[in-house]
């Protein structure tokens, strides 16, 4: 086990770091006639977007937008999408927007990231218009209008993309009560959600199946993180003390390294604020020895 860097309100914080990777990221704004339907479209579009390895992209909702913040003056949701390259992000956009936003009643889809580099948003699904699609260029922005059964689907032609994004910031939270640990992690995810430009892509922002690189089985590139599995304590070289009943992980992706660090700090602040009373004993982080990821987030630098 790593050395203790600090103990805050009864929660021990390891002297270790989260190891994260450079990624490509983009943001889109989805609007609809109501906040409910903007969120419905956003939830559908970002679904099956937990891990880039298995899903092709890591996706999530950054925040809700008021009508004043959207191009068409309707309620909106800003979604972030991360993958390995601009081409992979573009491919994911084409499929996800085409299948999940185009199809959602009253929806429209716009660029959500001002950036020098652009990728196509409208490629593919605009041809759903079967020749009746038209474009309207206003200033420097081009909007495609695709006739659909409830009127028109509007989508911006391009979206900004950044290759300075970061994927895989993380916190591992250890506790002696599984229900209490989950509640503490839910609060931490809510605190992180207040930070702009980040998402926590796993279900509800929380992962219970942390992984290690490799496997005993040929062709399996990741497998269960046995050192953090309580039921394997005693059978493997465990990272867990005898009183640890469960471990949950919060994975953070961000459009900038600073946003990931800010989110991790917000998470640690939330967990140490009242976590001990609900059974949280320790916070640590996942890394690969520091040789794989370009971004290292030391927990001792992110204390409240």
């Amino acid at each position: 086990m790593a050395k203790e860097a600090a103990n805050i309100n009864g929660v021990s914080i390891d002297d270790t770091f989260a190891e994260a990777f450079g990624m490509t990221g983009t943001a889109i704004i989805i609007t609809a006639d109501s906040a409910k339907w903007a969120m419905q479209s956003a939830v559908t579009m970002t679904g099956f977007g937990t891990s880039v390895i298995g899903c092709g992209a890591e996706c999530g909702i950054d925040r809700e937008l008021s009508p004043d913040e959207t191009p068409d003056g309707r309620p909106g949701v800003r979604c972030l999408i991360f993958s390995f390259s601009p081409d992979m992000v573009a491919g994911q956009l084409k499929n996800r927007v085409g299948q999940c936003v185009l199809t959602s009643p009253g929806s429209a889809c716009y660029n959500g990231l001002e950036a020098k580099d652009k990728i196509k948003l409208s490629t593919g699904f605009r041809y759903f218009g079967d020749g009746w699609q038209t474009a309207k260029k206003l200033g420097a922005r081009r909007f495609w209008r695709v006739p659909v059964m409830d009127g028109e689907f509007i989508a911006e032609d391009t979206v900004g993309v950044t290759t300075e994004a970061v994927g895989g910031g993380n916190l591992l939270v250890l506790g002696k009560d599984r229900v209490g640990l989950l509640e503490v992690c839910e609060d931490a995810v809510a605190a992180m959600a207040k930070i702009d430009d980040v998402i926590t892509p796993f279900p509800g922002g929380i992962v219970r199946s942390g992984s290690k690189v490799g496997s005993k089985y040929k062709g399996v590139i990741a497998s269960t993180n046995d050192a953090f599995c309580p039921t394997l304590r005693g059978a493997v070289k465990s990272e867990l003390s005898p009183d640890t009943l469960a471990v949950l992980e919060i994975v953070i992706d961000g459009l900038t390294s600073k946003s990931v660090a800010d989110a991790m700090r917000a998470g640690i602040t939330s967990i140490t604020g009242g976590g001990a009373a609900k059974g949280v004993t320790r916070i640590t982080a996942g890394n690969y020895g520091g040789n794989l990821g370009q971004h290292h987030y030391h927990l001792k630098d992110l204390l409240p």
Binding site: T134, K137, L138, G139, G151, I154
Partner: protein, 269 residues
């Protein structure tokens, strides 16, 4: 803001080509240099100094006090900065303009914004025929930017226009949007006879049309998200020059069905 100010001495004796008078073109010049610039269109070799008094120094603004319907090509190829003319101007103002802002205090002759590609033009008076249309030898009309005319606009505005927006607080004359290929013509008062003749794409917006051509199809009432975007974008870019936001529902006519039929004429009342 700083820049030269030219004051008209007397009504010009011939048509003048003012296309060389833009903030960018005068950058680095002295008042004496500016006075020597040729603006005549005859063998008389008229210079700026013959027609105007020149004051100030180079900057991002050029102000011309006075006006004449013989001031041709005002703001032509303007690319940055602000050019202000306090009274009327002649033909082809803002032709091939690329950026910046042109403000005209009076009326404008034909060809305003012909083949224009960017920037904002504000005319406090009325404009002549062929606003946002073709320059001789050009393939397309207006291809970007915004023109706002407080008064009326003449005939055949937007001929072969591809992009950009032309807004009139008054009426558009006959045959607005002929051969239109894109962009938006928007009036808060109304179109004259037969707008959209041979229109391929683009948008015409008005509360009324004095006479429709028969080759537009009535599509009924619509709630178009693109109009919300247009209203907000226009308000953000033009501020107080912007017309009131468009209504939630408009009546759409598709046309010109005699050729292609992907254009739209939207009636707001």
């Amino acid at each position: 803001m700083s820049g030269f100010e030219l004051k008209l001495k007397a009504a010009p004796a011939e048509r003048l080509d003012l296309s060389g008078l833009t903030p960018s073109a005068l950058a680095g010049m002295t008042a004496g240099d500016v006075a020597k610039i040729g603006i005549g269109t005859s063998k008389a070799h008229v210079t700026v100094g013959d027609v105007f008094t020149v004051a100030g120094a180079a900057g991002d603004t050029l102000r011309i006090s006075g006006g004449s319907d013989r001031f041709d090509f005002v703001g032509a190829k303007l690319d940055a900065g602000t050019l202000v003319v306090t009274e009327e101007v002649g033909v082809f103002a803002a032709a091939q303009m690329k950026g910046g802002r042109l403000e005209i205090g009076g009326n404008v002759g034909l060809g305003l914004g012909a083949a224009m590609k960017g920037g904002v033009v504000h005319v406090k008076g009325s404009a002549g025929d062929l606003v946002g249309g073709l320059r001789p030898g050009e393939q397309y009309g207006m291809q970007g930017g915004t023109i706002v005319v407080d008064g009326d606009i003449g005939e055949r505005a937007g001929d072969r226009m591809r992009r950009g927006t032309i807004i009139a607080r008054g009426m558009f004359g006959k045959w607005a949007g002929t051969r239109l290929m894109g962009g938006t013509l928007w009036t808060t008062k109304g179109f004259g006879d037969e707008p959209g003749l041979q229109m391929r794409r683009g948008t015409l917006i008005a509360p009324s049309v004095s006479r429709m051509i028969s080759t537009f199809g009535d599509g009924g009432m619509h709630d178009l998200t693109i109009l919300r975007i247009l209203s907000r974008d226009t308000a953000q870019r033009l501020g107080e020059l912007s017309p009131p936001p468009l209504p939630a529902k408009v009546r759409k006519y598709s046309g010109d069905l005699s050729i292609f039929g992907k254009g739209e004429l939207l009636l707001t009342s």
